[in-house]
């Protein structure tokens, strides 16, 4: 394998990791921007999505199984998110640190629940046959590079989700409400926007997208009770780098984190790449403490 092929391969890996991180971080960033709430159980939404897609593949066979898995994962995780919002998060409004701890409690219970139901060892989702190949290069500068269809599929799913979310926010009435609440909650409320419903909707769409990420991840790795924990800390870093409430910023940040970690892994071990990533994020906030893209505001509220 030539140098170009190795570098291209790592860039491809970076995009692949970045797209999963993006699917997880989108929901976090949206609800953090809107409600100033971080859901520590967000990683478990990914896990739930993974297990739901496993169950879906068990019951639905044939060409529709993948579609059923993604649909099932999205709807299931979204409903669970809605339940979480209604039962816990809404009551802790304005106490972000307490929300963080309470949702951490939820996360622990969901993990243990999964361990009790499915066992500590992961379950496998077998990707359909048409996803099992890879785009391989045999000649030219890219000789030796191979890009699995599954990863290309995941990147495409992420792009579709991103486009749909952008359209939702910029073109629909509920998207308009979302932007209004994001800019000025009190004023939006005064003008008749049902802010509670907007919160609920955004939160559950966010957890639903995390569920999609779980279904996507299930295609390349086994689903375990702690699968969410492996990704969630990086997703938090994406949120910090991305800034609040901007899809574009979150996207850039996810690519930044994905590319940096896969680039550094070329030279060192995975754990040293993690150290480097954390240092980079801390250096980054020295220059842009509020993320790549942030809403300028004269509001004196503490972030």
């Amino acid at each position: 394998m030539g140098h170009v092929a190795i570098i291209a391969g790592q860039i491809f890996n970076g995009f692949s990791v970045g797209s999963i991180l993006l699917l997880i971080a989108l929901g976090l960033a949206l609800s953090f921007g809107l409600m100033n709430v971080i859901n520590m159980a967000h990683g478990e939404m990914l896990m739930v999505g993974g297990y739901l897609s496993y169950l879906a593949c068990k019951f639905v066979h044939g060409p529709m199984s993948l579609l059923a898995a993604f649909l099932f994962a999205f709807v299931g995780a979204a409903l669970l998110g809605a339940l979480l919002e209604v039962t816990i998060i809404r009551w802790l409004y304005g106490r972000p640190l307490d929300t963080l701890l309470a949702t951490w409690g939820v996360s622990l219970m969901l993990q243990q629940g999964a361990r009790t139901l499915f066992g500590p060892i992961g379950v496998e989702v077998v990707a359909p046959a048409w996803l099992s190949g890879a785009v391989s290069f045999d000649t030219g500068v890219l000789a030796g590079l191979s890009m699995p269809y599954v990863r290309i599929f995941i990147i495409s799913v992420t792009m579709v989700v991103l486009v749909l979310l952008t359209l939702f926010i910029s073109r629909t009435r509920w998207g308009l409400y979302l932007r209004a609440v994001h800019q000025d909650r009190e004023m939006a409320q005064a003008l008749g926007v049902n802010t509670k419903l907007v919160d609920l909707l955004v939160f559950s769409v966010g957890t639903g997208v995390a569920g999609l990420a779980g279904a996507a991840l299930a295609l390349i790795a086994p689903v375990t009770p702690t699968v969410g924990q492996n990704y969630i800390v990086y997703a938090f870093l994406v949120v910090i780098v991305g800034g609040l409430g901007s899809l574009f910023g979150t996207t850039l940040a996810a690519l930044f984190v994905g590319l940096i970690s896969s680039a550094v892994q070329m030279f060192t071990s995975v754990s040293l790449a993690d150290v480097f990533l954390l240092v980079m994020v801390i250096v980054f906030i020295q220059f842009r403490p509020r993320g790549i893209i942030f809403a300028r505001s004269r509001n004196m509220k503490e972030a």
Binding site: P96, L97, L100, W104, L108, L278
Partner: protein, 354 residues
């Protein structure tokens, strides 16, 4: 409650703890000793989180730094001169790294237990707070730090002992660690350290510094407009919590005899926070009691039904945060309020009828 009742309660608590070696079995005494060491760390969380409003999900890192520094010394002290720890030889190192050798000197090691975590915590806090990043972001960054720290410890096996960590300590300052008499002495030393830390924290909170910390929690911008630097105050508070965590970690391994990455990662770090939340985050007495209760609870539950503990701790998080945010110490006040709710209406009616 009146002030003297509180002080009397604290004194009674410490006297009871000092008597414990005469009543407890050596197994339970060892547990109590560990948990008292953890309580020192909890005091630090109480100052940063309860008073200054800084939530750290990475206290395990500073605790672990203190523990590892002392463990390195103990590991070296257990060896014959010129020998190397066994895991280093397995990993193919041919000589002791210099940064290990420094801790051969007990004085360096004992100061290192305090200095290393303090400096790490201070630097981390200053880099973040100086850029006015705080609140949720800080919590997430400290959690990332805990993750990075534990994975680094596991992967650098040649230098850290990897997943198994450091163990097999047998001597400190010429004393035999496993000796029951010395274990009892370590218990009293731990209790003394806790008492000193307790009084120190109480004193700090009574000074102007403590008042500014509370003001930073309740209105950081206002404090800044009044001419203070909130970042400096928060950094000092966080460094202090780091120092307490380091001392706590050092004392803990004298009781436990082992330190490993699984004890310093994301999950243990957050369990340190729940202990504080259960007791009452802003009450020093509360966090000591909370730490003892939660840890004894954990020991009892996880030795009886291991799967249950995670459900219990998860439910504890949700319950304490939603129903009892000020922790167990606020229970008397809750009862008083309930009492007044029950009895006030009748009084009001009596007045109206006059």
């Amino acid at each position: 409650m009146k002030k003297w009742i509180k002080i009397a309660f604290d004194v009674a608590l410490f006297v009871a703890l000092a008597m414990a070696p005469y009543f407890l079995s050596s197994y339970h005494l060892s547990l109590l000793g560990r948990f008292l060491a953890m309580a020192i760390l909890s005091l630090g969380i109480s100052i940063t989180w309860g008073k200054a409003g800084i939530l750290s999900l990475g206290q395990g890192v500073f605790w672990g730094l203190g523990a590892y520094v002392l463990a390195m010394h103990l590991k070296l002290a257990a060896l014959a001169p010129g020998d190397m720890p066994d895991f280093m030889m397995w990993s193919g190192l041919d000589h002791l790294p210099a940064w290990w050798n420094v801790f051969h000197n007990p004085l360096v090691a004992l100061t290192g237990v305090i200095i290393v975590p303090t400096v790490t915590a201070g630097v981390m806090a200053w880099l973040v707070f100086n850029r006015r990043v705080s609140g949720v972001y800080f919590a997430l960054l400290t959690q990332a730090l805990a993750l990075v720290f534990s994975t680094l410890l596991i992967s650098e096996q040649a230098y850290t002992g990897g997943f198994n960590g450091l163990t097999d300590f047998n001597t400190i300052l010429g004393h035999d660690i496993i000796d029951p008499g010395f274990q009892r002495a370590i218990y009293w030393i731990t209790l003394l350290a806790l008492a000193i830390a307790f009084i120190l924290c109480r004193w700090i909170l009574s000074t102007g510094f403590g008042k500014v910390l509370v003001a930073v929690r309740d209105g950081e911008s206002r404090v800044r407009f009044l001419g203070y630097s909130p970042a400096a105050y928060k950094t000092v508070a966080f460094a202090l919590a780091g120092a307490l965590a380091g001392v706590s970690g050092g004392l803990y391994i004298l009781h436990a005899g082992v330190i490993s990455p699984a004890m310093v990662g994301v999950v243990p770090s957050i369990e340190m926070v729940i202990a504080v939340a259960v007791g009452g985050r802003s009450s020093l007495t509360g966090v000591v009691i909370g730490t003892l209760l939660v840890n004894f609870g954990k020991d009892a539950i996880s030795s009886a039904i291991p799967e249950l503990w995670q459900f219990v701790v998860g439910a504890l998080f949700i319950l304490v945060v939603t129903a009892l945010p000020k922790g167990l110490v606020s229970l008397p006040n809750v009862f008083l309020r309930l009492k007044s709710m029950v009895f006030k209406p009748s009084k009001a009616r009596a007045l109206n009828s006059v």
